[in-house]
């Protein structure tokens, strides 16, 4: 169910935490002319049908972070992490933007600050707790050998 949401951006300090994005790709996010050439056949756009889940939307989301008008949210994570990095947008962009690199940087900076989607969260928790992504007890690691 949708509700009226507060529109709050990031402070300068918070933007700095998006270091990969702001150091390397800030200019590129502004260079996006919003032509949508990258959108029509973006697989996640075809699947979800919301601009946020398309190539254009993700580059704009990156700009929203860099210019301090958007802050991370569950919705943003879903929109960004449903990109499958297929490079279609990279081939289509008339402005020559490194679209997938920008999206990768955005994913990286989000994850580094602890924002990841549910499935990643589980993986990180397991790695932190067990040292592996499967959630298995490390003591049992060699068990399979004994059976033989």
């Amino acid at each position: 169910m949708s509700e009226v949401k507060e529109f709050k951006g990031l402070s300068k300090e918070e933007i700095k935490k998006f270091e990969f994005l702001s150091d390397k790709y800030a200019d590129d996010t502004f260079k996006c002319i919003r032509c949508s050439y990258c959108q029509a056949k973006c697989p996640s756009w075809e699947e979800f049908g919301w601009v946020s889940h398309s190539a254009r939307g993700r580059i704009q989301t990156a700009r929203g972070i860099v210019e301090g008008k958007l802050r991370p949210s569950e919705y943003m994570l879903r929109a960004v992490f449903t990109c499958n990095m297929c490079d279609y947008c990279l081939l289509k962009c008339p402005a020559g933007l490194p679209t997938t690199d920008i999206i990768r940087a955005l994913k990286h900076d989000l994850a580094k600050q602890g924002y990841y989607v549910g499935v990643h969260k589980k993986l990180v928790e397991r790695i932190q707790k067990y040292g592996n992504p499967y959630g298995e007890d490390p003591a049992k690691r060699a068990d399979w050998m004994k059976e033989e």
Binding site: E3, A40, G49
Partner: protein, 470 residues
């Protein structure tokens, strides 16, 4: 926006098709122009019935509604300047019927132009209006701005192919304009009134259009001129030769240089390049027509020319023209394409004046120009950095010079195909006069008495339009 209105919207289209998330609102806050505005909610209707219910609700509560296709407008057309509802037509993207015998196709507004042509190609037909953005622009958006392209000289613009429209008016009433028949004078040509109405009168929900047989043969010739005036003479000569070429395009020195570097092609030192193309179903005729154009243009003393004999040569000839925009777009942070029109005899003079504009604003912007010489529609493309207040100011000053000193004194139009939206609102009274604006305001009132449809945009409001922040 009140929660109960969101609940009503959800009842109409379903929860999944309503979004108030800041990310969604933000990515719908701009088009390809400079301005920004934030809606309260984005709604994705799926049928005329849903659009009708939304417009009834919006009218009852006097909530602004902004129809949106792909948001590729370059004038601020679909930007929500007063909050309210962005009506995203993404899900209404069906090709409903192709009536091959009557050469008619019926589509929903969200169909992308290239997708329609991909559908028509196996049957040997095409929808001729060809904006550079055809891989993104929706047919609804093309109606909204009456989009055109390189083929407009021979094939016209969007309005020339639309037979009828289904439109939902504020309040929810569904009307139909025009007719299935080629001839019909039963209405005040409401179909054409909606073409280029920029979403200010109603929401287009179905479009009945004619299609044309796809040409089988093409001939292309390319000319270089060392003097813009000679290129201008060539344009006039070709236009008065008796042949209507499919395309007649011009590229100025700066765009040529940038596009040459971008494509790695070695181009002669010249002030302008012209491309002429003829097309058709009968090879001999297409060939004869290009020969006539060739002789006509040659009288204007080009320094070099190239008759493209093979498809490969033709692609090479077009590569430079097609590279103009992407090559320029890579040169700066901000790229804004302008859309002026002048009578064809005034093109050389206008190009000379455009090249002087950067100096007048301390070279804080640069401009490359290319465009549709055959109909006088030029696209000076402005390069600058919108983040720098001085450069931004210089851009607005430069466009003011463009309209006030180049376009309007030469009897031109401030926009040929991109629309008024926000960007050109203050120049309409100068082109058309206050009385025409008043009349347009009156027309707007008849369709939309509560001013909910894309409110306070330039077309009916002229210099009273709202200019939001950047």
């Amino acid at each position: 926006m009140r929660e109960e209105i969101l609940r009503e919207l959800e009842k109409i289209v379903g929860e999944d098709d309503v979004s108030t998330d800041p990310v969604e609102i933000y990515v719908h806050s701009r088009d390809s122009a400079l301005f920004q505005g934030f809606a309260d909610v984005i709604v994705r209707p799926e049928s005329t019935e849903e659009v009708s219910q939304i417009l009834k609700l919006a009218n009852d509560y006097k909530i602004p509604v902004y129809p949106r296709g792909s948001g590729t407008s370059i004038c601020g057309g679909p930007i929500p300047v007063l909050g309210g509802i962005v009506l995203a037509m993404y899900k209404m993207n069906r090709i409903i019927e192709f009536d091959r015998e009557n050469l008619m196709v019926t589509v929903e507004p969200g169909v992308i132009c290239d997708d329609l042509n991909e559908f028509l190609a196996p049957y040997g037909y095409f929808f001729p209006p060809d904006p550079g953005s055809s891989n993104a622009a929706t047919i609804g958006g093309m109606v909204g701005h009456n989009a055109g392209g390189m083929l407009a000289l021979k094939y016209g613009t969007t309005k020339d192919w639309i037979q009828w429209l289904e439109v939902v008016l504020p309040g929810g009433k569904v009307i139909r304009t025009g007719s299935n028949t080629l001839k019909s004078v039963s209405d005040y040509d409401l179909t054409k009134l909606f073409c280029a109405s920029e979403g200010t009168l109603g929401v287009v929900t179905k479009i009945g259009m004619r299609v044309a047989p796809k040409p089988k043969y093409y001939r292309t010739v390319l000319f270089y001129f060392d003097d813009l005036r000679k290129a201008g003479n060539a344009i006039v000569n070709v236009r008065s030769s008796g042949v209507v070429p499919a395309a007649l395009e011009i590229i100025d020195r700066i765009s040529m240089k940038t596009a040459g570097e971008y494509t790695g092609m070695d181009l002669p030192e010249a002030e302008a390049m012209l491309i002429v193309q003829t097309d058709g179903l009968v090879e001999e005729q297409v060939q004869r027509e290009i020969e006539i154009c060739f002789e006509a243009a040659k009288k204007a003393e080009p320094i070099e020319w190239m008759m493209a004999e093979t498809e490969e040569e033709r692609n090479k000839a077009w590569a430079i023209r097609k590279a103009c925009f992407p090559a320029l777009a890579r040169k700066a942070i901000t790229t804004i394409i302008e859309d002026m029109c002048v009578p064809i005899t005034k093109i050389p003079d206008a190009l000379v004046e455009i090249q002087k504009i950067p100096e007048r604003v301390n070279n804080l912007v640069s401009i490359g120009t290319y465009g549709h010489a055959g109909d006088g529609n030029l696209h000076p493309t402005f390069l600058f950095d919108e983040r720098d207040p001085e450069e931004r100011e210089a851009f607005f000053k430069a466009t003011k010079i463009l309209y006030d000193e180049v376009v309007l004194p030469r009897g031109g139009s401030i926009t040929g195909e991109h629309g008024i939206g926000i960007a050109r609102s203050k120049y309409i009274p100068k082109q058309l006069g206050k009385e025409t604006i008043e009349l347009m305001k009156g027309i707007k009132k008849v369709f939309d008495p509560n001013n909910i449809m894309n409110p306070m945009k330039g077309k009916p409001y002229g210099d009273e339009a709202i200019i939001p922040e950047i």
